[in-house]
Structures are given as C-alpha cells and as structure tokens.
Amino acid sequence: MNDQESSTTATETPSGDTATDAVVAAAAAGSDERLAYRSVFQRLFVRPEVGGLIGAAGIWVFFWAVSETFGTVGQTFTWLDTAATLGIMAVAVSMLMIGGEFDLSSGAMTGAMGMSIIFLVKETSELGGLGFPLLIAIPLSLFVALGIGWLNGFMVERTGQPSFIITLATFFALIGLKLGLSKRFVGQIQIGRTDEASDFDFFQPIFAAEWARNGHVFELRDLFYISLFAAGVVLTLLSVCELWFKHADKKNPAGLTEFIGGLGLGIAAGIGLHITDGVGANTAIAAVMAVAVFLGIHGWVSWRYEPVTDRGSIVLDERMRRQLGTGLGLVMLAAVVALVIDSSSSHEFFFPFTTQGIRVILFVLLAAAGMALLAMASQAALSASPATKGAVTSVLALAVGIIAALTFLDSEASKFRASMFSVLLFAAIVVLVWGFVASRFVERRIKSDSADRLGGRMMVLGIVTIFIGLAFRMMFITEAELLAEVPPAKTSIRLFWFVLFTVTMMWVLARTRFGSWTIAVGGNKEAARQVGVPVARTKTQLFMLVSASAWFVGLLVAFRINSIQSNAGDGQEFFYIIAAVVGGTLLTGGYGTTFGGAIGACIMSMPLAGISAARWNTDWRFLIIGMFLGFAVVSNKYIRNQAEAIRR
C-alpha cells in the first residue's frame, strides 16, 4: 500500500509540466482534472467504519490463531449473542451521538424496562399484582420508555445543559427506582418471572427463540455456502481490479483461461477446506487457495487491462542492492537460528531465558529486520522500472514464504502454527500478486465514473453475497458440531433483530430526512436551525429512539433469563458509547455511521469469548479488553487522519 501511496503522490503533485500533463490527460478523458485520483484503499479508508472493521478482523484473526475453538460456529454464536444486545444499543447510541448528544441513562434503562415488563405481568407481590397479559404490558412499557426518552430530550433542549449531565440525573433516578421498587415489591433485588404472564408462550419465540439444528450430515447447504462465499470473494476481488486499473482496448484471452483455472482451483480448495479437520490438510489447502487467488487476480487483470508500454530491464542501484543483500542475509540467518538451535528442549514458549525463548526472540528479530529491509527495497524499486519492481517483490515474497515455512517447522501448538503459516503464506502470495501487477499494468490515474460505478456495485454485491453465505452456513449446524466439546451452537433470534435493526438504521441515516437532520444537528446545530430543520424535535426523537431500543433490549433479556436483577444494565452505557466510538462515530457529533456501532459491539464482545476460548485466566479480561480498545481507537484515529489528509 505504501508503494501505491508514494507512487500516487509522486506522479500527481501538480507542479510544472506534470500538472499540465494531468490537465491535458484529464481533459482528454472527459473528466475533472481537479480530482486527484484516489486508489481503492484510499477511497475505502475515508469511510468512518473501516477502521473499526479492520480492528474487528484483526481481533478475530488473533483469537482464531491463539485458541482451538474460537473460529467454531459455537464460539461464534457465543460472542455474536453478546454482540447482539450490546449492538442494538450501540447502533441507537451511535445515532444519538451523531446527533451530538449522549445518553448515560441508556444502560440502566435496559434493566428498568425489562423490570417494568415483569412488574406489569406479576400477579402476586407484596403490593398485590397487576397481572396484565403481555399483549398490554409490552406496549405499556414501550410507552414508559418513550416517555423517559422524551423527558431526556425535553430537559436537554429546555435547559440547554449538556446531555451528559441531564442524562446522568436520569441514570441515578433509574437506579434508585429499580432498587427501591424491586425491594418494595418482592423484598429482594431480583425480580421474576416473565413467564407468569398468561400469553408468555405466544411472545417467547419472538424475543427469545433459539435454534440448534440440524441432524443432517451432508449438506446441500455446504455447497450453497461455498459457492456463495467463493462468488462473493471473487466479486470483491474483481471490484478492486475494476477500481484500480485502466481498461484495455483489446482483451487478452489467455488471461481469461488463467482466471477460470484459478477460480476452479479456488472452489476446489474451498470444498476441501470444508470437509477436512486436519491441521496439515488445512494448511495445504490454504496454500492451494492462495495460489488460486494469485492465478485468479493475475488472469483477470491480464485479460481486462493493458500492460504498460515497456517493462524496462532490471536496474538495481547501490542502496537497493545493499538492502536486498542484507535483508536476504538476515532472513537466512533467521532460518539458521530456527533450524540449528534445539527446538525440543522446552515448551515454555514465551519465557525469554530458555533455549526456546532465545531462539524465538532471535528468530523474530532477524526475520522482522530482514523483511523490513526487503520491503524498503521493494518500495524504492517502484520508481525504477516495472521489471525491477517485479523482481524485487518476488524476492520479498520468497522471503515471506521462507519465514512461513519456518514457523511451521516444529509444531506443538498445531493450530497456532498452522494458522500462522497460512496467514504468512497468504501474505507472501499477496505481496507477489501486488508486485507482479504493479510491474505489468498501468494504474488508473484518472477518475472514471463508469468503472467506479461498476467496481462499487461489484464490491457491494460481493460483500452481500459473502454474508448471505455465512448466514446460511450458520443457520444450519451439523450434529458433529453440536457434539463437539465446544459449547453447543445455538442460533438465537437476537441476532436477527440485531441485523434487522442495524440495517434499518443504516437506511434511516443514509436515506431519510430524519437521518440527514440527525447529521446536521450534530454537525452544526445553528446552521440546521437556520435552514429550517426542527432541531429540538430531531434531538428529542433521537433520545426516544435510544430509550425505545433500551426497551427492546430489556425485553430480550427479560424473556431470555426470565428475571431481572435490580442492577441489570447499570454501567453498560459506557460500553455503548465506546462501541460507537470504536466504530468511527465522532464524540462531538456530526460524523459516523450506525454500521460502525454494530462493528464496535462485535469488537467489544469478541475478546470476552476469545479469552475463555484461549483458556486464559479470565481475571485479566478487562485489562485485555482495555488494551484492545485502546489499540482500536488509536488505529481508528490514525486511519481517519490518513484518509482526511488524502481527501483534502
């Protein structure tokens, strides 16, 4: 990526002749010379939620690599289930924060709303019972929730005080009410039970249905899943090509053949990966898949896009030669360390003063230094000839491959090594593809509307397809998966509500007047008022949205565990706010997405499940979560700064 950036800036800084050329070229292409071309990744990174998405992927890979069970369906549902309730609130809170306000009462409100349902349906208590059916109790408690939300909004608007303070008051009031009322009603701090309601059986499936399915061993669904997944991956990759390269006038048929070969290989590998459980087989297939990706991209690109006029010859200057030599030497030294020092002495992997520890440290240091030097050489090579670039990145890819093989050499933690191997090997292939493509094909320097539109649509389609495939896979769980030692996999209806709510709110924010007004009141309240946006109404509606979501989450909890602790949900509001911020929403309002909030919720819940899956001491979980969050926020901020710098 650095290659990409440096090449873009180098060629496009409008100065002297270059600028004139750019103007002429742009005029010829019928587009706007003021628009500097932004590469695919630059364009992706300006989306606020991308930082969070990358963080989520990183955390997932991390726990997948360090634990035996994290990637399984069962574990996936464990953290998705946590993410669902957190996420519904995080999405609503994201909306509110985009609108420039906070709601500190949202956590306590979830518990309060769950409790209000139980109060309403209880038939006996110390004060007698109301004994309402749920049909009445549910709308009634929604009414209460909306009332509290309205009150929050009204107070904030009327007093002009920060919502931080106003909702803090609501927060304490709710805590007090919850404890006081539950003691008064049932004489203890826990109040049950939801199923006392006469129509409990009717509503239970809506809020708390769970499925653990099914008994089949094969698996039409697997075929479906694999083909959808493969199609999605292919579409996404192709979209990158469309967005990245310039079209050729004449297409190269050999490339198409190669692409089809790569696709076939990829699908075969996918099927293989799905039917095997062995670590070795997994690794082999991962390698095959990586080769398939390479073939696919290279074939497609050579079919549709034109080669650069002249590839030139390999020219290495003194500095590059030195970097290459030293880099390769270091990698070789790392290989020697890995091979020569006795590896069987100890399992104390991380202890620095054992033979094994020294070996690991030496190996990592040498390999990292070597690769860094090679990467520097590869970046420098881009300004030389395309052929040089191709050659140097091939060397880099080779080095990554060697390191990958070395990590796989001796394997106690088989899953860990195997996955590290796959990841590194995949990285090697990516490096190779990138070097090859950069050396042979011209990058698109000028904005092309049709290609952008096509690429954008392909990407959306690809990602949607992948998700449909994954969802399909998850809905139907095999017997083997149920019998495994991991917690039984259950799909719960919470997930459905979570996805539905997130998608709805994404649409609301992006496509409705309310969404536009939300961004406006958070971004510049006075400006919004001046052009006729009803500011107070919009903000109050946002507070009501949050409290209605809290009501819904309260229902989910009340139906799942059938009773509510009086302190349920207290303190959760900070998790909602953090999830929103991790997902790219600005603390000061006016910028962000609801999808980011959903991603943030996943980032928060993954470490919890991951830590127990990795069999780490769970006492440390908050420390680890804190570290992850710190990292996520910082990297998010960094990515956003980079993106903004490019955008200007």
Partner: protein, 265 residues
C-alpha cells in the same frame, strides 16, 4: 423609482431589555434590485437580518412583504414566505456532503406506502445542475462542504436560496471572509441573482463592495438609521463617512497624518 417595493420596512425597532439594538429603521427593496445595508461592527446589521429571517421579532414597526403586512415567527415561516437568508457563517454543516447541505431541511422525497425516503439521485442531479447555473462545476456532490473554498460555499448557499423559490435573498456579509478574487465572484453572483428577478439585501461593512452592485443603500450606525439613499443620491466617499459617523473618521485621519509627520520629522 417606478417599481412597487417587494419589502417595505417602516420604523423597525428592537430592544433587548434596556438595550436598544435597532431604532427607527425604514427602507425598501424592489424586485430585481439590490439594497445594501452598510454599517460598522455593532451597528445593528445582524439584528435587522435576524428580524427579517424570523429568528427575532421586532419590538416596534411594521414589515410589508409582497403587499401585505407580515410578522415572521420562525426561520421556517420566513422561508415559507420566500425570504432566504445566507448567513455569515453560511448555515452549513461542514462535515456533510454538498448535496445534503443544498437540500437540508427541504429534501426531495419519494415514498412507498408509509415509507418515505430521500430521492438521492434526483437531489444530487439538481444540486449539480443548480451549481452549474451559477457557473460552478461541482466536482463531486458527495464531498463534504468543508472541503469547498469560501467562494464556492457562498455559491452553494446562493444557489440553494434561488432554487427554493426565494423572492428575497438576504446575504449577511458574504464577502467579509473572502479574498479579493473570491469576493469578485460573489459580487458577480449577486448581480446574477438580481438579473434573475430576485430582490437582494446585501449586508456588508465594505462600501467599495456595496457601491458597484447596490441600487439603494441603508446606512446604520449604533442602531440608528443614517438614512436610506438611492444610488444617484450618494457616492462611495459619502457612504464611508456616514458609516463611521463622519466626524470620527476625520479625526482619525487627522491623527494619522500627525503621526506620519512625527515619524518623518
């Protein structure tokens, strides 16, 4: 002038408690005319605009708009009558895209049953077309307004006002934060708006910007009207003198000359 005035202000006054922000202001604006409101800082220009835009209500005096007496309760009310105001701070949300800002508060919608959503495609197209009419080829309507230059932002605001059927366009110090060239662009937009038949109120503290485009000049000083003049009744120097309260500036002039002599001596 033969034209029937579109807006007529008579003896407008505004008091905030014991403070007089504006007293006894009388002027008029006709269609296809520009009335410039001139005044130094604190002269009451902003108060006058806020009254016309419906943000505040006048304490005394009457406003006649389009033949009938009116009183604006809210910005929405004023907008509904066809009075569009382009504020000094531009009333824009910097992090929002150009087209969202263009349509903010009046988004075109499509609907299906109870569902209603913004017709983004049409909105973007209209935004691009309207900007093109102003002579600005907007690069990408999705880009945040914050990335536009000052002159372009003014143009978005003026184009927005024109598109939403404003009869009277109020511009609050549109040139104060701009460079020489961009000020020229904005002045040209004002003339274009006038040519399209809009009545324009142009607030500024720069007489050399006001004089070339204005048909009528209202001069304010410390909340009081120093008079409302047609173009043929006044010249740039008079404008400057009246704005500063005449004598004060002469004193300053004198003082500066003394300083010069001292330095020279």
């Amino acid at each position: 002038m033969p034209k029937q005035p579109l807006l007529k202000l008579e003896n407008i006054s505004k008091f905030y408690g014991s403070i007089t922000a504006l007293s006894g202001v009388t002027t008029e604006v006709a269609e296809s005319e520009v009335t410039c409101v001139l005044g130094d800082n604190g002269a009451g220009k902003s108060t006058l605009i806020k009254i016309l835009a419906g943000v505040h209500q006048q304490t005394e005096g009457t406003i006649h708009f389009d033949g009938s007496e009116v009183m604006f309760d809210s910005p929405r009310d004023a907008l509904g009558h066809g009075i569009a105001t382009v504020y000094q701070d531009l009333a824009m949300v910097p992090m929002m895209s150009v087209w969202r800002n263009f349509f903010l508060g009046s988004e075109p919608t499509k609907s299906f049953g109870p569902l209603k959503w913004i017709d983004t495609k049409e909105a973007k197209q209209i935004c691009k077309d309207e900007m093109a009419k102003m002579g600005i080829d907007i690069r990408d309507t999705e880009q945040p307004v914050g990335t536009l230059s000052g002159g372009e932002r003014q143009s978005v605001a003026i184009a927005r006002a024109g598109y939403f059927g404003a009869k009277l366009l109020i511009l609050d110090e549109p040139t104060s934060a701009l460079g020489v060239k961009q000020s020229g662009v904005v002045l040209r937009r004002i003339v274009e708006a006038r040519e399209q038949g809009l009545a324009v109120i142009f607030i500024t503290h720069n007489p050399s910007h006001a004089f070339p485009v204005g048909n009528r000049f209202l001069i304010l000083n410390r909340g009081h009207s120093m008079g409302s003049f047609a173009k043929d009744e006044i010249d740039v120097n008079d404008l400057t003198r009246l704005m500063s309260g005449g004598a004060e500036l002469e004193a300053l002039h004198h003082e500066l000359r003394n300083m010069d002599t001292k330095i020279d001596g």
